[in-house]
Every structure is written in C-alpha cells, then in structure tokens.
Symmetry: C2
Subunit: 67 residues, 2 copies
C-alpha cells in the first residue's frame, strides 16, 4: 500500500501523528489529513518534508502568531 | 512503487509536471520536487491536494504578488 505515516516535528523529535495517511490538503490555517479508513485530523501545521518512497510525511507546527 | 505524479492545476485543467515524485519540500517561495531518479524541479506553487492512494499530487500556482 502507498500510504505514508505523518509525523509532527517537535524540536529534535518526530512524533507519530497519523498512520496510513491517504489525503492531505490545506484547511483553514493548517492541514486536513485523512487516513485510508476515512479518519480525519486537522492540525495547525505545514508540510516540512515528504519522502513518499520512505512513507514519511514530516509536519511542522505553525507559529501561533500566524493563526 | 509508491511515488505519485505531480500535476499543476491551470484553471480546469491539470497539467502533468513530474512523474514518479518521491520528495517534496518547501523551497524559498515555492516547492522543490524530486523524482525517484533524483531529477529536481523548483516551482512557485503550493500543494492543493494530495491523494497518495491515487498517486496524485495537485499543485496550484502561487499568485505573483506572493513572490
């Protein structure tokens, strides 16, 4: 399967946010993620890096003053 | 393989930009795309929608006054 896992970068750590992400699109001031089961998540973050062959999507929190 | 194809939305059309995209990351005022052969492309666009299970990444040109 070709879904990727989404991680949120928090300092030097990367925290797993959602497994098996199928869809990502901009939503209001952040992103909407949906996994392959249809579960949705909204997060005030932007894409920092995606490597699809590694199944990794790294997100980064948006600074609060951008909201 | 789990690469996706990147398309640029142009009105109602979607124009193929790059096949077999592996990596996407922000770059200056746009995005850097790299395919699975290492070919790079820079484009002043943002991600409009990605559906990984359909292998589709839709990009949208940034308005010129954002550059």
């Amino acid at each position: 399967m070709c879904e990727s896992n989404a991680y949120l970068k928090d300092g030097d750590n990367e925290v797993m946010l959602m497994e098996s992400v199928d869809t990502i699109e901009p939503y209001e001031n952040g992103l909407k993620l949906m996994d392959s089961f249809g579960k949705q998540m909204f997060i005030k973050a932007k894409i920092k890096n995606m490597t699809l062959l590694n199944h990794r999507i790294i997100l980064e929190k948006l600074p609060l003053d951008n909201l």
